[in-house]
Structure formats: C-alpha cells, structure tokens
C-alpha cells in the first residue's frame, strides 16, 4: 500500500521536471511537434540559444530543457536518486513485475531520451549528467543486489543496475546501444522475474532465498531457463546480453565526454557485481543444501497459514502455464543477439530517428571494427569484461556454493559496508524523514501556525476588535435623555471654550 503511493509520488517528482522540460521545448521551438522540433534543432544557433533565468546569467536553453526532460526519465527509468520506487513496486504480482519493471514501463525514460536525441546532441553538459547518473545507478544499485535475500528484490536491483547501463549508453551518445540493451534486457529480465515467480509458487509464496536451496532437482525447467537468463544478464559471450552490454562498455571506452572515465570504472566494476549477484541468486535458490523442511501430512492447511520454510509436500515444478513462457523467453534471451546486432547497431535500423552529431558518434568507431556477431563473440572471450565476469562467477561459486561460511565471515568483517548496502544507503530513511515526515510536519506547521494562528488570527482578531470597540462605544449610547443633554452641555462648553481661546490668540 505504501509502495504504490511511493511509486506514484516519486514518478510525480520526475514528471515535475518533465513538464517543465516540455514547457521549455515549447519556449525554445514554439512547437511540441516532433518533426518541427527536430528540424529546428538542426538550425545553426539552436545549441547556443540562451535564456536568463537569473538576471545576468545566461543559460543554454538546450541544457535546461534536456536536463529537465531527463528528470522525467530518471523517474520512469528509476535512476538515482529517483530509483527508490522500483524495488518497492516488486510488492505487485510477479507477472506485473516482469511486464512493467523489466520490459515496458521502466523503459519509457530510456526511450524518451533516445527519441529526443536531436535535442540531447546539442548539450554536452546534459549528456555528461546523463552519463554520470547512469553510471552511478549501474554500479551502486547493483551492489545492493548482492546483499538482498528476497529473490524478487535481487532481480529488481539488477533491473535498476541494467537501466543504469542503458542510461550510460545514452550519455555517450550511443542511443542505439541503449535502446538495443533495452530490447535484449526485456527478454532475459522478464524471464528472470517469471522464473523467480515460479520459484515463489513452489515455495508457497515465500520469497526468502535463505529458505531455498537445492531446488534444481525439483524444478529443472525453471532452473535451466534461469541459468540461461542469468548468463545473458552477465553478458556471457554469445548470449543476447553480451552483444548489447559489451557494446555499451566499448562505447564508454571510446567516448571523450566528460564523465566517461568515471563511467568506465563504474560499468566495468558493474560487470563483476552483476556476476556476483546473479550467480549468488542461482546458487542460493537452485543449488547447495536445502534450507526448507518438508513436513508430510500437513495437507489441508490453508496457504496463508504456512510457516516460512515449512512445506507440506516437496517443491514441484510449476505447471505448463508457467514453464512455457519461461522456455519461450529463454530462446530469445540466448539467441536474439545474433540476427539483430548488426542491423540494429551498425546497419541503420533506426534510420533518421536517432540523430548523433558526427563528433560524438562512438558507434561509428565501433562499427569499423565490427565484423559480424561471430567475430564479436570470439573477440568477447579475449576482453577484460569477460575475465571480470568470470572472476565474479568464480568468487560467487566459491562463496555461495562451496564454502557458504565465507559469506557470513565477510558479512561480519565488513559490517559497516554490509549495513550500508542492506539499508540501501539509507536513502529511503532520508527521504522519509526529509520529504514524507518532514512534509507532513511542515504542512501541520503551516496549518496551525500560518493558517489558524496568523491568517485566521488576524481575521478573528479584527472582528474581536470591532466587537470590543462597539462594547466601549455602547456605553455612550445609554438611551437616557439626561445623559445626552449633559453631553450636549459639555460639548457646548468645550466648543465655546475653544472659540474663546482662538479669539484670544488672534490679534484683533
């Protein structure tokens, strides 16, 4: 319940920037029609058009508009610091998670920036911001995935991290690469979510991986498809994720943009992190010791009353309505890269829809070295990214499969870091204190202090004042004739005295 409110409001923060960005585009071009705007963006001077928001400080409209629009993208595509809503939205049903949080809705931001590439190309500043935000998201949210125990949350943080990769691609002007990763990611991430859903069904709606383990023999289809999906996710050469992610990393390496150095470290480290949490998930779920207890003869107990970790029958492979989609998603997760990589990235699939200034065109540089998917795959085995991922695989295998005690030791040794990740950098707590509790408290303060005390105080005060004055004046209006007569005499005396005094002073 809290999650949906949060998703809505955080997205609204994104919309706040987005709407202002749209308004800025209207201000800039006098139109909101794509064709008109993109044509106008080609005209000389479009990039140097400025506005003085604060007098004396001309700002590039291109930068303002692109940054504002990007705030909207940060909301929808869950980039740091507007990422907080996405993991919580995993409260929703698993197929919804697969659909919205993997494939469709979260991609809206990436799509929008790619769509607006003619505008973004005009502002290096905006693209650098996009790059840095994306790189930060890619690395730091991936780290959180390592310490999560809820199977869906691991996948959710993986989504955040991958969205970061897409944003990085946008930031280095490799828009096609970002959109391409969006496509490949949709297949394997939907697969991972649905696979997680299948596991959750088998575990009677328990999502905690610490009470799983050894499920491979009970649910082979789920296990195999999730392995395939994970291999695609860690960009094992030849899998779909490899073509898109490797390309993004190469593009970052080629880019001269400010922030590209930082981004390169982030995406490279991210490869290791991705391997770590992906294989950790697989090992904790499907391999190693079983951490659940099967208690026969507890039939007839309603699902809700299940105790976590106690099943009334051995876990079963999910029915075909669940496994068939897994298989169908596994096929493109493995293979979709082969036929599509060449046309999508180097073959002009996007035609004129994506516009890249020649100076920024890193994909063109990569295209010169591209000799087909097979060569790319073989080349992939020689790349550092492959070795980093392999290292991640080896570490994960050792820690979570062969020597699970290490994980606990590491956890204790690195307690502060573990806490930092486990609490997700305390971002939620800070937002809660600052914006939620703080906002409500501020509202109360405004209400009690501003409204009731000051504004209404002034209103009621003035009416009280009128009442008091009337109360005093009322004594004069006594209604007794002799009071009035007495007052008249007094007045007459005063008036005569005054006249007399004046005549005395005026020399005759």
């Amino acid at each position: 319940m809290y999650a949906n409110l949060k998703a809505f409001i955080v997205n609204r923060v994104g919309d706040w920037g987005f709407v202002v960005g749209i308004a800025g585009a209207l201000f800039w071009f006098g139109s909101l029609d794509y064709a008109t705007v993109f044509a106008a963006a080609l005209e000389p001077g479009a990039a140097t058009y400025t506005v003085e928001i604060f007098p004396g400080h001309p700002w590039h409209v291109a930068t303002i508009v692109c940054l504002c629009l990007f705030v909207g993208a940060m909301g929808k595509s869950a980039q740091v610091p507007l990422h907080v809503w996405l993991p919580d939205s995993m409260e929703g049903p698993t197929p919804i998670s697969a659909l919205i949080h993997a494939a469709t809705m979260v991609t809206a931001g990436i799509f929008m920036v790619a769509r607006m590439s003619p505008l973004y190309e005009l502002s290096d500043v905006a693209l650098s911001v996009v790059l840095v935000i994306g790189a930060t998201t890619a690395f730091f949210t991936g780290l959180i995935g390592i310490v999560q125990n809820d199977i869906k949350r691991v996948v959710a943080y993986s989504t955040l991290s991958q969205l970061g990769y897409m944003t990085v691609a946008l930031g280095v002007s490799a828009y096609a690469g970002g959109v391409y990763h969006l496509m490949t990611h949709a297949f394997f991430k939907a697969l991972l979510f649905l696979g997680a859903g299948s596991v959750i069904i088998a575990m009677h709606h328990d999502q905690d991986m610490r009470r799983m383990g050894g499920l491979a023999k009970y649910m082979p289809i789920t296990c195999v498809t999730m392995w395939l999906g994970s291999l695609a996710l860690v960009a094992a050469p030849g899998f779909s994720g490899f073509f898109s992610k490797d390309l993004i990393i190469e593009a970052v390496a080629e880019s001269q943009r400010w922030g590209a150095g930082y981004a390169y470290y982030c995406v490279m480290a991210g490869v290791f992190v991705t391997a770590l949490y992906s294989f950790r998930l697989l090992y904790m779920t499907f391999h190693g010791k079983e951490h659940f207890v099967v208690e026969q003869g507890r039939h007839g107990v309603h699902d809700d009353q299940h105790q976590p970790g106690r099943l009334d029958h051995p876990p079963r492979e999910s029915p075909w309505v669940v496994t068939v989609p897994l298989v169908l998603l596994a096929i493109p997760s493995v293979m979709i890269g082969w036929p599509t990589v060449a046309p999508a990235l180097f073959g002009g699939w996007f035609g004129g829809s994506i516009r890249v200034a020649p100076a920024n065109d890193v994909l063109a540089i990569l295209g010169r070295e591209f000799h087909g998917p097979l060569a790319m795959t073989l080349h992939g085995f020689t790349q550092p990214t492959f070795w980093i991922a392999l290292a991640g695989f080896i570490v994960a295998t050792y820690v979570w499969l062969y020597n699970p005690g290490v994980a606990d030791k590491a956890k204790n040794a690195l307690r502060p870091i573990y806490n930092l990740l486990d609490r997700k950098y305390w971002v939620n707590e800070v937002y809660d204190a600052l914006f939620i509790t703080g906002g409500i408290r501020m509202g109360r303060g405004f209400w009690k202090g501003g409204e009731v005390a000051v504004v209404d105080g002034a209103v009621n005060g003035s009416s009280t004042l009128v009442g008091r004055t009337a109360g005093v004046v009322r004594w004069i209006q006594s209604g007794y004739l002799y009071h009035y007569a007495f007052a008249m005499i007094l007045g007459l005396i005063a008036l005569m005295g005054w006249l007399w005094w004046i005549t005395l002073r005026v020399p005759v």
Binding site: M1, L5, F8, I9, R12, V13, D15, W16, V19, V20, I22, A23, G24, L26, F27, G30, V51, I53, I64, G439, I440, M442, G443, R444, F446, W447, G450, E451, V455, D456, V459, S463
Partner: protein, 502 residues
C-alpha cells in the same frame, strides 16, 4: 434550437421555478421532483447556447438590452461570449446534480432547500450573463443570500460561525467593488462594462480600482491569504451547498478578474501582476502543504480547491505579463485558455469530490479521515469513482485536471522558467495530499464494523458521480470543443490587453 431571449429565460426559469418549489411546503417529494424538473429544463435550455453560438459571429451574442434604471443609465443588459457560455452550462449542469445529490440527505424543509438552490442557480447565471455592472453587482450580492441560508439552516454544528465568516468576508470584499463601480459610474455616466473598459483612467485611479476589484474577487476565488472562510464554509455546508460553492461560486471570482480587472484596469493589472503571481504560487505550494496536514476530508478538499484556483489566477496574470512584458500573445492566449479550462475542470472535479465526501458522510456521519479505511472492499463502485476523481484532482493526463494546469505551466515558462518550476510543483504536492487521502480512506483494511456495514452507492448517487465522471473524462480526453468555444473571447481579451490606457 434556441429559445428566444435565452439568457433571460435561463435566469428567470430557475428563480420562478424556485418560488414555485417554495410553495410545495407540505409535500417534500413534490418539491424534489419539481426542482429536478426545473433544473433539467434549465439545462436543456442552456444547451441552446452551445448550439446557437456562432463561432465566427460577434463576440457577444444572445444580446438583450432594456432600460432598467434610467436615472443611472443602468440597463438590463444581457449577453454571452464563449467564456460566459461555458460557465453558464457548468452552472446548469452542476445544479441538476446538486438537486439529485440532496435528494436523500436533505430531509427537513426540503422545499425551502430546493428553492434556495434554484434561486442560487438563477443568480449565478445572472452574474455570468450580464454586461451591466450594476446588474452584475445585484446578482453578485443576491447569490450570497441563498448560500447563506443553505449553510446556516442545513449546515453542521458550527454553521453560525461559518455562515457569518462567509458572509462578512465576501460582503466586505464586495463593498470595495461597489465603491469602484460607483467611481467608474461617476467617471463615465454609465454602467455598461464596455463603457468602463473604454474609460480613460490614470495610473493612480487604476491602482485604486484594481485593488477594489481585487478585494471583491480575490475573496471569492479565494486567493491566499483571504481564503480562510472557504474551509470553514465547506466543512459546515451540506453536500449540495459544498458542490455549488466549489463548483460554481468560486468561479465568479476568476470570472470577475477576467471581466473587470483586466479590461478596466489593464495597466494596474500589469503593474501588480507580480503580486498576483506570487499570491497564486503561494496558494499552489504553501496551501498544498496545508492540505496535506488536514484531518477533516472536507477541509482537505477545500484547501485543494484553493490550490487549484491558484492556477486560475496564475494563468490570468501570467497572461497579462506575457502580453505586456514579453509581447507574446500566443502564450498569453494559452495561459488564458488554461485558466478558463482550469475553472471548468475544477468545477467538475471539486464538485465530484464533495459529492463523494457527501456519500461517505451520509453513511457514517463523520468527515474525519481516520474514521474510514478499506472502503474499496465494501463499496467498490464508490471506490472506483472516488479514485478516478482523485486522479483528476492530481491532474493526471486524460482527466480534465491535467489540461488547464498543463497549459498554464507551458505558458508560464515563456514568461519565467522559475514560475513554471514553482507552479509545476503542484504535480508532486497534489499527488501527495490527494493520494494519501485515497490511501487512508479507500484502501487498506476495513477500519471497523461501521465501515464494513456501509452500503455501496444507491442509484441516485451513482447517477451523480457518473455524470461528473463523464464530464471529467470528456474534457480530459477531448478539450477542443471547450477551447474552441472560448477562443474568440480569449483572443479579444488578450488583444484588449495590448493597448495601454496610460
């Protein structure tokens, strides 16, 4: 088909009908049915304004002009442009729903209540359709009386405080307006709005007049900081009164700014546009936070009304600034259109919100938010409507709430990106207070047995909410007929602003 003298018919049909309803003292049902009949007839007649309006024709149409008080050269002059027509149809539409929504809840003195509602409708239509300042003033004041009675007789426990506050506040404002009108009359010898608009006025004169009008209209809108009568009035008013108050009466303020302040005191309007913009932004942001903290849902919606009406004044005075400081007539038209659409939209959305609160109040007799919870489980139809109107209240695209705010934000950026940024904050804060309300009332666990026993909508309530919903979605999805209707009037208004009086 258009009835001859249609504006007169629209004014007097509900007034005469109201007197007839008043006579049904013995028979409450007869009063209800007669009132419904009259409002339906009025609504059908008012549709003639839409069909009979010639878009390329003269600005003011359906003109009627008769000498009224010859000594003062004041005429019984009626005419309507697109802006007036939109507001008149909003009035006739909403009043039907007010009558239906009051059908069950009002059980005492039914004939008097219905009569007051009908009289109010007639006076409101009068306000929107006259082109004579004195006649405007008469209607402007007359409409206080039925509203005063509706809140004071059928209101809640603190109704006497609320009515007095409401009456004194608004009356206080209109006194200044009357002085302004008298001054203008002395200056021009007439009472027609056209003569007032043409009157040459020095800057000092304009400034005084501007603030006199401001006193009258800002209280009506209501703008911060003269808004505190509104939450009190809403909390005490019966549901029907709240709907009329929020949906129509507040619009008189915005309409007044457009009809009086802008044409008569254009130079003062530009001089003090920044004040108006600042007050509007305070209404949008600061009052938004105040709404967040409310514990009484009627107060919450009342404060949210202040926020949304802040967009109306923002749109109007950003338009002034755009014309005179930036020479950007296109954006000025956009802002004015936005303000107008926002007025109509707020009419339906806030009316619907108050109708929803009425539905809940009739069942549980409390408006405290924490007394409710989990209504979606017991009243699915109601929950669906309430969530939809809440989305409109937060300005979600596809609902009427989005259109006006979006237009105003777009236009504001052309004058000042910072104003646009501040105004767009409404996206966050309105989502905050509205959704938090919905979350606490509609979702979650069923609060207690009393809530569990709440029946879903009856057929009358369903009809009311469905009619509001149709309007909210209709305007939200396809606002073009509405904006087309108002476009000539908006153009004229913006054109008028280009010429300085001094």
């Amino acid at each position: 088909m258009t009835v001859p003298n249609i504006l007169s018919v629209l004014i007097w049909l509900p007034i005469v009908g109201g007197l007839a309803v008043f006579a049904c003292r013995r028979n409450a049902d007869a009063a209800r049915w007669l009132a419904l009949l009259v409002t339906l007839a009025t609504f059908i007649v008012s549709l003639g304004l839409l069909t009979g309006f010639v878009p390329d024709g003269p600005l003011m149409q359906f003109v009627e002009n008769h000498a009224w008080i010859t000594a003062l050269k004041s005429n019984y002059a009626l005419a309507a442009d697109g802006i007036a027509i939109a507001l008149i149809v909003l009035t006739t539409f909403t009043t039907i729903l007010v009558v239906v929504a009051s059908w069950g809840p009002i059980r005492e003195r039914v004939s008097q209540y219905m009569a007051a509602t009908l009289l109010l409708e007639g006076f409101l239509i009068g306000v929107f359709s006259t082109t004579d300042a004195l006649l405007f003033y008469v209607f402007f004041e007359a409409m206080l009386i039925p509203m005063f009675i509706i809140i004071g007789v059928w209101g809640g426990p603190r109704r006497v405080y609320a009515t007095l506050k409401f009456f004194i506040y608004t009356f206080f404002g209109s006194i200044f307006m009357l002085i302004a009108l008298i001054y203008l009359h002395l200056k021009t010898g007439e009472f027609s709005l056209a003569a007032f608009a043409a009157a040459p006025l020095s800057m000092t004169e304009q400034a005084w007049l501007f603030f006199a009008f401001f006193a009258g209209f800002a209280i009506k809108v209501p703008m911060w900081p003269v808004h505190t009568w509104l939450p009190d009035a809403h909390v005490e008013a019966p549901t029907g009164g709240s709907i009329t108050l929020a949906a129509i009466m507040l619009k008189v303020g915005g309409y007044g700014f457009i009809r009086f302040s802008l044409p008569i005191t254009p130079d003062a309007s530009i001089e003090y546009a920044w004040v108006m913009v600042a007050l509007s932004l305070i209404a949008i942001i600061y009052v938004g936070y105040v709404a967040l903290a409310q514990e009484d849902m009627k107060k919450l919606v009342a404060y949210s009304s202040v926020c949304h009406m802040g967009f109306v004044t923002l749109g109007v005075f950003i338009a002034v600034a755009l014309v005179r400081m930036d020479g950007n007539l296109g954006a000025a038209r956009l802002a004015t259109q936005g303000a107008m659409v926002q007025m109509i939209s707020h009419g339906v959305v806030s009316g619907a919100m108050f109708a929803c609160i009425g539905v809940m109040y009739d069942r549980l007799h409390t408006r405290t938010i924490t007394e409710y919870g989990g209504l979606a489980n017991v009243m699915p139809w109601f929950a669906a409507f309430m969530v939809m109107f809440s989305m409109a209240n937060t300005g979600l695209p596809g609902t009427s709430g989005f259109v006006g705010e979006f237009m105003i934000i777009l236009a504001s950026f052309q004058h000042s990106p910072l104003v646009a940024l501040a105004a767009a904050f409404t996206l966050v804060i309105s989502a905050g207070y509205t959704l938090w309300l919905v979350k606490r009332i509609i979702y979650g666990e069923i609060k207690n047995e009393k809530v569990a026993a709440m029946p879903d909508l009856n057929i009358r309530e369903w009809v009311v909410l469905a009619a509001f919903a149709a309007a909210v979605i209709g305007i939200g999805v396809y606002p073009k007929p509405l904006t087309d209707l108002m476009e000539p009037a908006v153009q004229q208004l913006v054109q008028q602003l280009t010429t300085a009086k001094v």
